[in-house]
Assembly symmetry: C2
Homo-oligomer: 181 residues x 2
DNA sequence: TGCTCCATGTAACACGTTACATGATTGC
DNA sequence: GCAATCATGTAACGTGTTACATGGAGCA
């Protein structure tokens, strides 16, 4: 149940509405944890039920239905408790591997185009992350603990995309070898 | 729905029972696609319903309840059809990133031990994969297309574990920096 | 006899996805 | 006036997880 905890973290940084959270999840947090707005609304309702967060009408004089959520002490405690639990390992789980194995068994299926498509997406993401890094974490800058951790998270994304971009090149080389069919 | 297709691939390599498949998924295929026995039984039932596979009692004279599944032509066609579809990108999705961000917000939580635990697991897996590589794909050997693809898949696992092992070292360094709290 | 492994399954639940619905506000 | 965006939600479904159940086979 870590969507709840991702939301708690986000709300601690800034009290927000479900809608705002959904949009923020398309950016920073969304680099490593995606969620749709339906998921977020459902989870916020549960968290309020559990007493981790409270909501109030947004301070706009009732012009909108917007609700502002903020973290209660119990929510903060819960986040700390959870963060110390062992984190399940993320295992490699990729449909493309299943497809490659299928290709090996039922003959060449022309997966090259698909791999090229993915390579392009990885390179695109990589460039985006590197741009953010250059902007937010310029070389030689002194950073707070919080900023250093945020930088680490960004570098994780960079490592991830760079690895898969490199993998794509190797996979294409293997599929294009003509010898030994 | 790629569990079905992973099972089809497996069954094409060798007709098997659900139990056998579950055990094989703990090995080779399980490097990149895990499944519990319940999932496998449920999926096999559906696949038989769909006419992709057929089952017969194992040739042991009715001593066991074992069922042998084999792929029908429709199943082979379905596998080929599916393998050509675009494969959804695997996105980075890691609870540890959520925990790191929580650590940045609600103060040092001592995640170092957790990261060390994971580093050890990655290194262990890496060693296991490298041993398999040395055994099955010795240097300088000529390989068939099928074997080259299997080697590629194994190298994917190696890349993956090596990347995360290296990441763990960097993450520990960041968390252990004392300056600038 | 009792233990472990073989072999298959039911049931309930958690989580994520997709489709659909509603109504208000903002900008052209 | 109309479209896009804001803002929240219901419903149904697919997949994966966990717990529990059943019964035979092989072995000490």
């Amino acid at each position: 149940m870590s969507l709840a905890h991702a939301l708690l973290t986000s709300l601690l940084e800034k009290s927000s509405s479900g809608y705002d959270l959904a949009r923020r999840f398309d950016k920073s947090i969304g680099f490593f944890w995606r969620a749709t707005h339906q998921q977020i609304y459902r989870e916020l309702a549960r968290m309020e039920q559990a007493g981790w967060i409270s909501s109030e009408a947004a301070p706009d004089g009732g012009r909108t239905r917007k609700k502002l959520y903020s973290v209660k002490p119990a929510g903060r405690r819960e986040l700390k408790r959870w963060a110390r639990e062992p984190a399940p390992m993320v295992e490699l789980r990729d449909e493309l591997m299943v497809r490659l194995r299928a290709d090996a068994v039922v003959g060449p299926l022309g997966l090259e185009a698909e791999i090229e498509r993915r390579a392009a997406l990885h390179i695109e993401k990589l460039a985006a992350y590197r741009a953010i890094e250059a902007r937010d974490f310029p070389e030689g800058s002194e950073l707070s603990r919080e900023a250093r951790i945020q930088h680490l998270i960004l570098k994780t994304g960079i490592m991830y995309e760079a690895s898969w971009a490199a993998w794509s090149r190797e996979a294409l080389a293997v599929l294009r070898e003509t010898a030994g069919d």
